[in-house]
Symmetry: C2
Subunit: 219 residues, 2 copies
DNA sequence: AATATTTTTTAGAGTCATCTAAACTTTTTA
DNA sequence: TAAAAAGTTTAGATGACTCTAAAAAATATT
């Protein structure tokens, strides 16, 4: 059984390692956790002793299969709660993150499975991120950020990387929700802003925003 | 802002003092919190410094108005979550207590008010206990335990004192839910068991059980 | 009333998560 | 490649909450 803090560190390792595909450095983790490197080193030793991560001094950490499963259980809870908050309680998608950060630590398998059922076994959360199943398995689709798409490409918005409320409010304003179809028209060489079509309207989005919109390109 | 532990102690003080009507002794609190008297003394000092309780050495603690309001906010959350678990997720009333003990500590006024609205502003939880409003106000009805009612009395089950799962399962079995009408037929002098009518059937309940069934006597 | 018992408090220590400051390792730069 | 810079770890300390053991206060008993 993990403490609240251990759960938060493990989740951060999972995300920063891109689901386990690369090592995470102490300072990255320190920044993500809003703490000091020394504290991270201590926690790394604890998670390492529990075999949730592999640790080599001065080289960072890698998440183990065991760690990945546990991280995905937490992420499952987070995303189901976000779905509940938006679908049932009428929260907007920029309001849910903070509360879900708390709710994800409630310990009750029965609760989360009942919640899953109550929500109709959703596949994705309000941000378009996939919800892992009971066993911590994730069905992922290859997602490409908007800033990497060529003009002429048609795609569907899958999810949003950053959960910054200001970003989410902006996306709401322009109608950029997961599921929406867009088309890339052109890219400005000067500031790398992208012109897209959404809801039959043309508009420009900055490089900063376009990096955070992940899309599924139709084959 | 209270820590999780402080919240749990404050809630225990509220309950053990019968909503602030009497002082609570260190050992009572220690037993309720499943901890040692020394730990209780430490926490008493902390809550006292925050002016949530009044503390006099060797004489126990009394809850202040400020403390009562805060305790009722936690109780409001607990009872709303219990209602959610039973009404929406299909939990039985003997399963909800443990999970609600965790959920009651989620910090978000917006969440709890939205949940209240989603549930249709319920007045009582699944055990029949009244749910305090946003301001921590409680509309209470005078409740009398079954073991104190005279034969011939008609009354409505309001709530159940103990949330022991075995008790709740037994009450389910005999149909004794909050809202059910009963009539007291007789009391056995030997073991103080009570004969009652419920759902037009007669049955005996032991002194132990009858102490825990609280009723509203119709005037 | 003096003594015994119960209850409560204090003293001192352990764990968890955190910090600062100093030491150490790796990487970069000149 | 040697020195500087950047990144990481260790050492030692703090705060929150817990404990055991011993001291102190209140209550009960003889």
């Amino acid at each position: 059984m993990l403490s609240l803090t251990e759960e938060n560190y493990l989740k951060a390792v999972y995300h920063l390692s891109d689901a386990g595909s690369k090592a995470v450095l102490t300072n990255e983790l320190a920044e993500a956790m809003q703490t000091k490197a020394a504290s991270v080193t201590d926690m790394i030793k604890k998670l390492s002793a529990k075999e949730l991560i592999l640790y080599e001094r001065y080289y960072g950490v890698n998440i183990t299969a065991k760690g990945k499963t546990q991280a995905l259980q937490i992420i499952r809870k987070h995303r189901l709660w976000e779905t509940f908050l938006v679908e049932k309680l009428g929260f907007t998608w920029d309001e849910v993150h903070e509360v879900a950060e708390q709710l994800e630590h409630i310990q009750s398998t029965r609760l989360i499975d009942k919640l899953d059922e109550y929500l109709g076994f959703p596949k994705v959360d309000p941000h378009g991120d996939p919800i892992p199943d009971q066993h911590g398995k994730l069905k992922s689709q290859p997602q490409v950020p908007l800033d990497q798409l060529k003009p002429g490409t048609k795609a569907v918005i899958c999810s949003v990387k950053d959960s910054n409320p200001d970003l989410l409010k902006f996306l709401d304003k322009i109608g950029a929700k997961p599921g929406k179809k867009i088309e890339v028209i052109s890219r400005e060489p000067y500031d790398e802003s992208v012109e897209i079509t959404i809801d039959k309207k043309k508009l420009f989005v900055s490089k900063e925003v376009s990096k955070n919109i992940l899309l599924l390109v139709k084959v």
